[in-house]
């Protein structure tokens, strides 16, 4: 499973989500969309969202889930934490 967290440095809920995932021992890739316009455009295209945090979960079987905002309940369920 590949997990990507899209974030910006000054986003409080992004920090809380990353801390939550680290605490639970979840490995994830972080993309700071403030660093490049490309990353921002890519996130909007992939997820249809223009706000952070957005978490993209890509499973081995090719299915994808997008979690909008720091949604602890949904993350807990999708990642079986």
């Amino acid at each position: 499973m590949n997990i990507t967290v899209y974030s910006t440095p000054s986003c409080g809920y992004c920090k809380m989500e990353k801390e939550f995932l680290l605490e639970k021992g979840v490995e994830f890739k972080e993309i700071d969309i403030s660093e490049s316009q490309e990353a921002a455009t890519q996130m909007v295209e992939k997820t249809g969202q223009m706000g952070v945090p957005v978490t993209m979960i890509e499973r081995e079987d090719g299915t994808e889930e997008v979690v909008v905002g720091f949604d602890q309940e949904k993350l807990t369920k999708l990642l079986s934490l």
């Binding site: 000054s10 986003c11 409080g12 807990t76």
Partner: protein
Amino acid sequence: MVFDTIIVGGGPAAVAAGVYAARKQMKAMLVADQIGGQSVVSDGIANWIGDILIPGPELAKKLKDHLESYKEDISLSLQDTVTSIERDGDMFLVKTKKDVYKTKTVIVTTGGRHRKLGVPGEDDFNGKGVAYCATCDAPFFRDKDVAVVGGGNSGLESVVDLLPYAKKVYLLARRDELRGDPITQKIVRDSGKVEILYKTNTLKISGSAMVESLLYEDKEANEEKELAVQGVFVEIGTVPNSSLCKGLVDLNDREEIIVDHRTFSTSMNGIYAAGDVTDELYKQNNIAVGDAIKATLSAYEYVKKFGN
């Protein structure tokens, strides 16, 4: 098991109530989705006493650590939400997503949330151009035209957050003047990027996949006008999270819980409230903490006399 008190909420007021209830050895539980409060989205809080400047998430962590240091003395039900509070004899039944609990008192510290415009398109385009946190989402609006609705401090601060990214910012104020601090007004006016529109009333947000325009009423000219924008940041204040208490305790016309400002009791014996959910004049972290402590000490006195 009957609790002495159940604290509803996860902001600074709730944590203060939790720490004090634990230290008083009350049989207490705190129910919250997460610990932090509204300031979690703040880049830097400059008026939290004891810290010169602290980022919102760091304050949230300190609050959580402090509360969890008492986990032997207080039950915590996190990632949980209270769905109803009902009177049950001289006690209360608190229902949450996970369970039902009986308690002698309830301390309501549910805080406030962003006030929405309540216009067509706002919910449909939430996260698709409509945003409520400029510090978080400003980088998405590089070289775009955006509108900020709200002429108070949070509106002005959102404009400042957007300045490094946006091509042009329209600031829509309801009145014929801005209410925010003069120091921030100056930054906004001197930027050369901001057009301030006074006496406006936002009517509609439109687009296809993403936001494309905002329709507003120009109250001076008495006509409807449209702005071609790709983003709309809504900063028109907060509303209290008091729906849980509707019909249970008295609310004022702003839906804030009316409290006695000496004891923080409400119109219902055994229910206390503190922080931004109440009719406290100043919505401040430090004040919410002090008010919640008073509420907790009042609840403690009430429990001591309970049944006698």
